[in-house]
């Protein structure tokens, strides 16, 4: 059943976004092409305009991704469509998991489109060489390969996205468990969850750095290899922990039942 729910949820979330994806990538491509002739004054101006439009398109993709996800979750669970959603022969866990997985898929797709657009606009051998220099400087002293370092950072970013989705879902579900002012209460709960998770992160960082004798490095401009690897591991553990915790909080509140309008 999750596969069926996922199929319909993803179709709904991706109803308009692919058009924005195409526009963004096309704008990035045009910017790249026009910049070939940037020694010509007119082309330089057009290039500026196009790169501005591409940045706007990237921002639009990101904003619309979150708007579509939240609208699909709220609409499917609490608006007119919920009269069908909650009467389907599926469990609440299946409903939530399908929405969660489809939201994750859409966010990853949107981020990939944004990266692809930026890559199309800016890729050059010089840029890659510069990035490699920065990367080598960053990983000096932590005895891991640049490939593993990039993978770890990608995993942390992925866990952070999962945390954001779980937190947003938990806030919407908690906010809609009340009988009135559901939108405002959802927003308030998101702020509460955000403050709690941020506070836990800071407290955990202080504790771990104090135990490791690295406390001064928390506010230092540069980090030692040991401090950097500690931050990576701590980030990984915390974000995975938050994502799982908020998912189970959402599920627990959702399982208690809904009060649709």
């Amino acid at each position: 059943m999750i596969t069926k729910l996922y199929k319909y949820d993803i179709k709904k979330m991706l109803r308009i976004l692919p058009y924005f994806y195409v526009i963004t990538i096309v704008l990035a491509g045009l910017t790249r092409i026009v910049n070939i002739w940037n020694d010509i004054q007119v082309m330089l101006i057009i290039g500026y305009v196009l790169s501005g439009a591409t940045y706007s398109a990237i921002a639009n993709v990101l904003v619309n991704t979150f708007v579509h996800i939240l609208a699909t979750v709220q609409g499917g669970f609490y608006k007119d469509e919920s009269y069908l959603t909650h009467t389907l022969p599926v469990t609440k866990k299946q409903l939530l998991t399908a929405k969660y997985l489809s939201a994750l898929t859409v966010i990853i797709a949107s981020i990939l489109v944004c990266f692809l657009s930026l890559f199309t606009m800016f890729y050059s051998k010089e840029l890659i060489a510069t990035l490699k220099v920065y990367l080598d400087a960053t990983i000096t002293g932590i005895n891991i390969s640049s490939g593993l370092f990039i993978t770890l950072i990608a995993i942390i970013l992925f866990a952070e996205i999962c945390t954001f989705i779980s937190m947003a879902f938990a806030a919407i579900i908690k906010g809609h468990s009340y009988n009135n002012k559901k939108g405002g209460k959802s927003f308030l709960w998101f702020a509460i969850f955000y403050v709690i998770s941020t506070s836990v992160t800071v407290i955990m960082a202080v504790i771990v750095f104090a135990i490791g004798g690295m406390l001064p490095e928390l506010i230092a401009e540069t980090l030692s290899g040991k401090a950097l690897i500690t931050i990576i591991i701590l980030g990984l553990i915390l974000y995975v922990g938050y994502a799982v915790a908020f998912y189970f909080i959402s599920q627990k509140i959702f399982n208690k039942g809904v009060n649709v309008d």
Partner: protein
């Protein structure tokens, strides 16, 4: 055997009791009318039975089981509002129902849609509210469910269409299935009802067999309702 049992149901909104100690049962094969004025609590009861609201107190059993995905598989529910996804066509909506409900009879749905002159290729966004309500009724009545719950199926519909809707409901309703129907248009449904429940201000005023009520009170259900609920 009771297909639906509601025991001591209670629901409040902002400390105002909307449903107050409601208990009743629907037997298999019976058509039961939940009759009340607008705002009497009919839709709230229906929403509680369909897991759209969470009860403060009480118990709901469908075919002897608490409300779950298993009971939802045997209940076909028509809400008083349109839940159809406007981005889909009628055909895509049929696919959706076929995907999720094993008891959905697609052939029957297509025949009913044809009878109603509704094109399966039509996008729902281009349909009027009345047309969408008909599509929804077709979807609900094309399931071979054990219990049909219809919330105000005649609300906002002209008298000639009301007759058609009643005909559609009755001709597509299996003998061993049960039907719980809510309405404030009692005269339009009273002839099909086996049992009636009068509800007012969230409380059940009367729950009895329709025929014996008519005989005992020597009047129609509509007239009795007007006398009982003032």
């Amino acid at each position: 055997m009771d297909i639906l049992t509601v025991k001591n149901l209670e629901k409040s909104f902002d400390e105002k009791k909307i449903i107050d100690d409601v208990s009743f049962a629907v037997k298999s094969g019976k058509i039961v009318g939940l009759l009340g004025k607008n705002g009497s609590g009919k839709t709230t009861i229906i929403k509680l039975i369909n897991d759209l609201l969470t009860a403060d107190n009480g118990e709901i059993l469908i075919d002897g089981m608490p409300v779950s995905e298993k009971t939802k598989a045997i209940v076909s529910y028509l809400p008083e509002r349109t839940y159809l996804d406007n981005t889909k066509t009628v055909e895509q909506t049929l696919n959706f129902f076929e995907d999720f409900y094993t008891d959905f009879d697609r052939k029957k749905a297509q025949e009913l849609l044809e009878d109603l002159d509704l094109d399966v290729k039509s996008p729902l966004a281009k349909m009027s509210k009345g047309m969408k309500e008909k599509v929804q009724l077709v979807l609900v009545m094309s399931r071979r469910a054990k219990l049909y719950i219809l919330d105000e199926p005649l609300g906002g519909v002209d008298p000639s269409t009301r007759d058609y809707i009643m005909q559609t409901i009755l001709s597509n309703f299996a003998e061993d299935s049960s039907l719980l129907i809510t309405t404030h248009l009692i005269s339009d449904v009273e002839k099909i009802l086996d049992e009636v429940i009068f509800i007012d201000k969230g409380k059940i005023l009367l729950f009895d067999d329709a025929e014996s009520l008519r005989e005992k009170e020597n009047c129609s259900i509509d007239e009795l309702f007007r006398r009982t609920v003032k």
